[in-house]
């Protein structure tokens, strides 16, 4: 029996996709709507009391500042370490790729709650050497972000024809730095944005290490405040989610707005510039 015509089947697919999207939107938005409703309850009717209290809670504002800084530092650390190393392994020592994958996925086998147990003594040294700042958590957070960032970058590198691109650039005289920054990074931008967003969201939401190593950050403050005032705490939680959402949303734009170098002539062009300069 013949199939139905292609356009009609396509319409059926689109309807199914739309249905899945709509159901997901409902499912994921319900708790967020509930947070909005919960945080605007007053003694009589609606009230913005809980929301106003955020701005007048200095501990909360400090927590936000700390978590933001931690997020930026951790992203820089993870991308700075992983992009060159992973690319190098793909190109030059592919026999180590599985070993590197195992190491990078190791934090998945070592839950944050177990990392706390193992790292507590080490952090006595870290705070002794670098000071008692919550920003020192950057190193531990880098470990937590390793699997997600590695997977994104490794997938990105596997998806592109790295060897051909690198050899083309190298044969035209480009240095390894040029290959990395002007050939790989532009081709990896979706993977990099994905790695960066995962890392930032992970750090902004991190609670385990901070709370058990006695550092204050956003989530620790939310939990502490939540014990005093559920309304305020739900308001802060919703605000922080919206905030993280905006950060990730903007990051998505930045990632995709970089000059495109995916077309065929652009990569040699970038290399050509390097040669003539």
């Amino acid at each position: 029996m013949r199939r139905t015509a292609a356009p009609r089947r396509w319409t059926g697919h689109s309807a199914l996709r739309a249905l899945v999207l709509a159901a997901s939107a409902l499912y994921f938005l319900l708790p967020l709507m509930a947070m909005l409703e919960f945080s605007t309850r007053g003694t009589t009717g609606r009230s913005l009391e809980s929301w106003r209290a955020i701005g007048s809670t200095p501990a909360m504002l400090a927590g936000i500042r700390i978590s933001l800084t931690q997020a930026v530092l951790t992203t820089a650390l993870v991308l700075g370490l992983l992009v060159p190393t992973t690319a190098w392994v793909h190109l030059r020592v592919p026999q180590l790729r599985r070993a590197m994958e195992l190491v990078c996925l190791l934090p998945l086998t070592i839950p944050a709650i177990v990392v706390v147990v193992g790292i507590a003594d080490l952090y006595a040294w870290v705070t002794y050497l670098l000071g008692d700042s919550p920003l020192t958590l950057t190193f531990a957070y880098g470990v937590l972000a390793l699997p997600y960032a590695f997977r994104a970058i490794d997938n990105g590198l596997s998806a592109m024809d790295l060897r051909t691109l690198a050899e083309a650039a190298r044969s035209l005289g480009a240095s390894w730095t040029t290959v990395l920054l002007r050939v790989m990074v532009p081709n990896l931008r979706v993977a990099l944005v994905s790695a960066a967003s995962l890392t930032m969201a992970l750090v902004l939401g991190e609670f385990t290490l901070a709370s058990l190593l006695n550092f204050d950050n956003l989530q620790v403050e939310i939990n502490v405040i939540g014990k005093r005032d559920a309304g305020l705490s739900v308001a802060v939680a919703l605000a922080s989610m919206i905030f993280a959402f905006v950060v990730l949303f903007v990051l998505g734009f930045i990632g995709r707005r970089l000059p495109s170098t995916t077309s065929d002539d652009d990569v040699p062009a970038a290399v050509r510039e390097e040669i003539t300069s």
Partner: protein, 302 residues
């Protein structure tokens, strides 16, 4: 370009150095990564693993492990595994479906951007925040609880306390597993080339045939890998449970919390390390399985 014969002396200094470094140079480039990983990942791991086999005086012993395999802790492990398996499976299936729905949206379009940013927040931001989200939704005085009570006179089970125990953890964990599946699995779905579908169509194959013989087999390693990742994610999760469950320690991470914060049992801090080792073993089992699967199936992705 690659100098197969090491050139000694001469004027091309940069090229010479690289040639002389040879394979050793290839490994030297990995040094920063290795140092970081050794200090902040491998050393803490060794501390946990060694500690699990030592008593308070540092002498080797098996008593920690013997204590941990006792009934209370074994029950916690079973509950942790149940929680992770159920939420990983449900999350993987629903997340794959959502990935498929999103993959058709314009890559630069608003829908895609909104969904991806939302998934990033819900998957990785989770923890404490999501605990409060569900307290506001299905807690004792949550929005959904109130609505059900007012409209249908339905009372929540156990007076709303179900949220603060295993059923609650199941619901909240699933909520953050689905977006993580989308983040991990969407790149694989996008890797399906439209040409493959067109090729199947031009040969008279149905959409079912395409998924059965092309799309499915190509995606299955990624799907399995992502499911194992979800399991590890749920098994390792702590924040949500810590914020929701204040009475008792039904799952392993909360048992460890009890060891780290309780003063009564400070004399036995290595029991916490033994619990940690137990968690590592369970998750490592899954990741080992994942590695085996990958090796068998990776060749289809090339």
């Amino acid at each position: 370009m690659a100098a197969s014969n090491p050139v000694k002396g001469g004027r091309g200094g940069r090229r010479d150095r690289r040639a002389r470094l040879g394979p050793a140079g290839h490994y030297l480039a990995l040094a920063p990564f290795l140092v970081f990983v050794s200090v902040f990942l491998l050393y803490p791991t060794v501390v946990v693993v060694m500690g699990a086999f030592q008593d308070n005086g540092g002498h080797p012993t098996l008593s920690n492990l013997r204590a941990v395999t006792g009934s209370v802790y074994a029950d916690a492990f079973v509950r942790s595994i149940e929680l992770s398996a159920v939420t990983a499976l449900v999350g993987a299936v629903l997340g794959a479906l959502l990935s498929w729905a999103i993959a058709a949206a314009k890559p630069e379009g608003l829908v895609r951007r909104l969904v991806l940013a939302g998934c990033g927040v819900l998957a990785q931001f989770g923890g404490v925040t999501l605990a409060f989200a569900f307290i506001a939704t299905v807690g004792v005085t949550g929005l959904a609880t109130n609505l059900l009570r007012e409209l249908f006179a339905i009372e929540p089970p156990r007076g709303g306390a179900w949220l603060f125990d295993m059923p609650g953890l199941m619901v909240v964990y699933t909520y953050f597993q689905i977006p993580l599946m989308v983040l991990v699995f969407l790149p694989a779905v996008e890797g399906l080339r439209p040409q493959w579908h067109e090729a199947v169509q031009s040969l008279g194959g149905s959409t079912w045939r395409y998924w059965r013989h092309v799309g499915g087999p190509v995606l299955s390693p990624a799907f399995l890998g992502a499911t194992l990742l979800l399991f590890a994610n749920a098994f390792s999760a702590y924040g949500t449970a810590a914020a929701l469950v204040s009475q008792g320690s039904p799952i392993v991470p909360l048992q460890i919390r009890a060891f780290m914060t309780s003063e009564v049992i400070t004399g036995q801090q290595n029991l916490g390390k033994a619990l940690g080792l137990g968690m590592i073993v369970v998750v490592a089992l899954f990741m080992g399985l994942y590695a085996l699967l990958q090796r068998r199936t990776a060749r289809w992705l090339r």
